[in-house]
């Protein structure tokens, strides 16, 4: 009998674990404790209420209980079910508040990283000037504090495995802190609706061992794909999305060699070009990039249709002033990027498109 109960408990606990993210920090464990307490407390009340209700439906159905009892109330009972929930609620409040205090007040020697949220990517800027897009490299077992603001609209920075979340506000700094205990990748989501690519504004916390962190600081490129995947979903590499959505790819930190084409690829994600232009030939709002470089295309210019060759100048014009020539069969919806991209950035996008044969 005890063996059976133990088995059931193990099964239960495993099933239970599947419904929460892995706890990758100490505070995440403390969060889990109060969360499960609330779950069990809720279960008790739920079973009590629904149980009573279902029992009464049978026991006091009109067939089984023809004469109802004339009752107006019972002061004692009413007092009990007012006072006891009040006490329980304030126990929950108190415990929750204690955990919250530690969630927002981190150690004063935490390593600070600046976070800039923008439509639709994350930029992480370290004290030494390193700037990384979408991948936040941190050392394991060391406290990290993020100081965050937005360039445009509201965003929110959410790391489920760490139980960390805060809005990222334009015009104001907010902050969070954590000390990661589990090396590898941890998913980051934007959780404040911010427009078109809100669900594509993903990121990763890349938690490095002491060795790897030293390497990264020295400028060595880390092969992120070889690191342990997000432990909450071990079967998946936790940063990809399905078709049609822009990929939030990582750009390497200072010192790593990134090809111009790779820079361009990251840029097309960061600037949300991929919301309308696919890289695999599928037709979205705009034409696909795949295989177009060097080919001829029919465009509408000033109401007239003509054929042009897709070369560097055409691509540059399409980026800076897209409504000058609109590919036939597509809507004139593309925003203009004139003045928004540096020379290097335009060149990198052109190189990327060239590379998609």
């Amino acid at each position: 009998m005890t063996k059976l109960l133990l088995c059931l408990m193990l099964i239960g606990l495993n099933a239970r674990a599947a419904t929460v993210p892995v706890a990758a920090t100490d505070l995440a464990h403390r969060w889990d404790a109060i969360y499960w307490f609330l779950v069990y407390l809720s279960l008790v009340f739920f079973v009590g209420i629904v149980g009573a209700m279902v029992w009464f439906a049978f026991r006091y159905s009109k067939e089984r209980n023809k004469k109802p009892k004339y009752i107006h109330g019972h002061t004692g009972l009413e007092i009990i079910w007012t006072v006891i929930p009040t006490i329980l609620l304030f126990v929950c409040f108190g415990w929750g508040w204690a955990v919250y205090q530690d969630m927002i007040h981190g150690p004063s020697d935490a390593m600070e990283v600046r976070v800039i949220g923008k439509q639709w990517s994350w930029q992480f800027i370290y004290k030494n000037g390193t700037s990384v897009s979408n991948d936040l490299y941190v050392p394991v077992n060391k406290p990290v504090k993020l100081i965050m603001s937005s360039e445009d609209v509201l965003h929110a920075f959410f790391i489920p495995n760490f139980r960390v979340k805060s809005d990222v506000v334009p015009g104001m700094y907010t902050s969070v802190w954590f000390e990661a205990k589990v090396p590898g990748i941890h998913q980051v989501f934007c959780t404040e609706y911010c427009g078109t690519v809100h669900s594509g504004m993903l990121g990763r916390v890349v938690v490095l061992s002491e060795e790897q962190w030293k390497d990264w600081l020295a400028g060595k490129k880390i092969d992120v794909d070889s690191l342990p995947a997000d432990p909450t979903f071990p079967g998946y590499r936790a940063n990809r999305l399905g078709e049609g959505m822009p990929e939030a790819q990582a750009a390497a930190g200072k010192g790593g060699q990134v090809s111009l084409a790779d820079k361009g690829k990251a840029l097309t994600a960061a600037k949300a070009c991929t919301a309308c232009h696919s890289s695999d030939g599928s037709k979205l709002v705009g034409p696909s990039y795949k295989g177009i470089y060097g080919t001829d295309v029919k465009v509408v210019e000033n109401g007239q249709t003509k054929t042009v060759k897709i070369d560097d100048n055409y691509l540059r014009e399409s980026i800076e002033n897209p409504l000058a020539k609109v590919v036939e069969g597509y809507p004139p919806s593309m925003p203009a990027f004139k003045g928004q991209l540096s020379e290097e950035e335009i060149a990198s996008i052109i190189e990327y498109i060239k590379s998609l044969k």
Binding site: I34, S42, Y60, W97, G195, T196, S199, C276
Partner: protein
């Protein structure tokens, strides 16, 4: 009793004829009916958007919508339509307009002309907002957070104006009901003899009157922000986007009590009638109703725990939010205690009341997770919140509305609906609802954010279950509507009081005459005095 009930005589439906007599009516019952039909149409539109959203979320990637923008528009319209055009006016305007004056023994509301005006204001505002469906659909979410709502080039201004106008309809209804309850009670109808449905709608009306004007100024300021750039919410002009959230939630939190308090009022009337005994703890339920209405105004910041507001604000708002759970619990326990040693008749209204208790309990308990700041940090802005508010709003308000619909339908149509399809629909809705929304709690805890057009593949299975549930839910609602429409055409005569209820509206014929009562009723006891002979009557179907 038997002879006063047939629909052969003159009643409010055949009192006058022609479209004009309806469009210019001052009869609260006709106005209630017009509200009911219009709100049901809006509900179908909002529901279609919901089905589209769930359809898109069946798999990761974008399958149905050609771009994430279209998905964002879909959830915006789903939310805006359901909140402003459906759930807020639903029970007060559709049921309250019909029932409240009659439960008071009155001939009409205090200001019948303003009642009609409130209907047309609602139509005008709703039309303005709905027109944007054809002109550059809005994609801000129903919460219109700045600065995105300032920047978006869509027709947000028109939707904001539409919502602004609809707010006046809500205010006028509330104002009318308050004066009606104060001034038009039948002789002998003292405050401690009022049906709890009246207490509920009365408290709701006070919230409507106090909170809606703040929404009005908020929306107006946002319109001015978008049009001339007044700057108070725009960080580019030195303003504060978090200030918008304070303004917005100062209304929108009380608004959810505008949605749920009338629902609780319906349950408070239905359960005693179908248990054949007085409601347990009448005074406590009335007091709890007012307690909830009051506390509703001081907890808005619990929507903003991670917005960047101060630690002190978080402490205060969390503490006060815990308070609101207490009167809510008192009500639920009282309703269950009402069933104890009753003689329960499980007709459709009671079935929905049971469903309400099941679903609202889950919704209320999950609210505690969100009221505690530390658990909220992880859960806010995820699908956990989406599940929570659907449990209380759909599970709560909508199920209670359906209870009220089936309870009062015989009174206002004079006909009885088919019990079989009604019960089938109720079960479909209950099962469909839970299958749709319970998985979303788990999705939320696992980290799936809300308002996501696309999601990581690991969330697929739970999303698929949820989408499948939405189909059962949709079918259930369709059966309800078809059954009601069929009853209107072919239902058997219902009689004045098929349920054996004791509140005043059941003393009039079904359908009631234009003036409601053949003689002004005089009240000598409470509304739930089911005892002796009266307790043994009631539906025996």
């Amino acid at each position: 009793m038997a002879h006063a009930q047939s629909g052969h005589g003159s009643n409010y439906l055949n009192h006058s004829h022609g479209l004009k007599s309806w469009l210019t009516t001052l009869d609260h019952k006709r106005i209630g009916l017009m509200y009911f039909v219009t709100i049901m149409v809006m509900f179908l539109v909002g529901g279609v958007f919901a089905l589209l959203v769930r359809w898109e979320l069946f798999s990761p990637g974008l399958q149905y919508f050609s771009s994430p923008d279209k998905y964002n528009q879909a959830f915006t319209y789903h939310g805006a339509i359901m909140v402003f055009m459906v759930v807020i006016p639903l029970i007060p305007a559709a049921i309250g307009n019909c029932v409240l004056p009659m439960q008071l023994g009155a001939k009409d509301v205090a200001f019948p002309r303003w009642n009609l005006v409130s209907f047309y204001v609602y139509i005008f505002g709703a039309t303005l907002a709905a027109a944007t469906l054809f002109v550059n659909k809005v994609d801000t979410g129903w919460t219109f957070y700045a600065p995105y709502s300032i920047r978006t080039g869509t027709s947000a201004t028109m939707v904001l104006l539409g919502a602004f106008i609809m707010g006046f309809s809500s205010i006028l209804t509330g104002l009318n009901f308050i004066v009606t309850v104060h001034k038009l009670r039948a002789p002998g109808l003292t405050w401690d003899r009022l049906p709890l449905f009246i207490w509920a709608v009365y408290a709701t009306s006070i919230i409507q009157v106090l909170a809606t004007p703040v929404l009005a100024i908020t929306l107006m300021l946002l319109v001015l922000e978008r049009t001339i750039g007044i700057g108070i919410f725009d960080p580019k002009l030195g303003g504060d986007p978090v200030l918008f959230q304070h303004f917005f939630w100062f209304y929108s939190h009380p608004a959810v009590y505008i949605m749920v308090l009338p629902a609780m009022g319906v349950i408070s009337d239905v359960i005693p009638a179908f248990s054949r005994k007085p409601v347990f703890g009448y005074k406590a339920i009335a007091a709890a109703t007012f307690g909830i209405a009051l506390v509703a105004f001081i907890v808005w910041g619990h929507h903003m725990f991670v917005s960047g507001q101060s630690e002190f604000a978080n402490f205060v708002f969390s503490f006060l939010t815990m308070l609101v759970a207490v009167p809510t619990g008192v009500k639920v326990f009282s309703w269950i205690a009402t069933m104890y040693k009753g003689s329960l008749r499980m007709n459709t209204p009671m079935l929905y009341a049971f469903g309400f208790l099941f679903v609202f309990t889950i919704g209320g308990l999950t609210g505690v997770f969100l009221a505690v700041v530390s658990t909220d940090v992880h859960l806010t802005a995820t699908y956990f919140v989406v599940a929570h508010f659907h449990y209380v709003m759909v599970g709560g308000t909508l199920l209670a509305f359906l209870a009220g619909l089936h309870y009062w339908f015989p009174k206002f149509s004079g006909k009885m609906y088919s019990e079989g399809p009604a019960k089938l629909a109720a079960w479909l809705i209950m099962i469909g609802f839970n299958v749709t929304f319970f998985p979303q709690f788990i999705l939320g805890v696992l980290g799936m954010p809300r308002r996501y057009a696309d999601y990581l593949p690991q969330f697929t299975e739970l999303n698929r279950v949820s989408t499948a549930g939405s189909w059962f839910l949709g079918v259930g609602f369709v059966i309800v509507l078809v059954n009601i429409i069929n009853a209107v055409r072919n239902g058997k005569p219902a009689g004045a009081n098929p349920w054996g209820s004791l509140t005043l509206e059941w003393m009039a014929p079904s359908p009631p005459p234009h003036e409601n009562f053949l003689e002004t009723p005089v009240v000598t006891e409470g509304p739930y005095e089911y005892r002796g002979e009266k307790a043994l009557m009631g539906s025996n179907a």
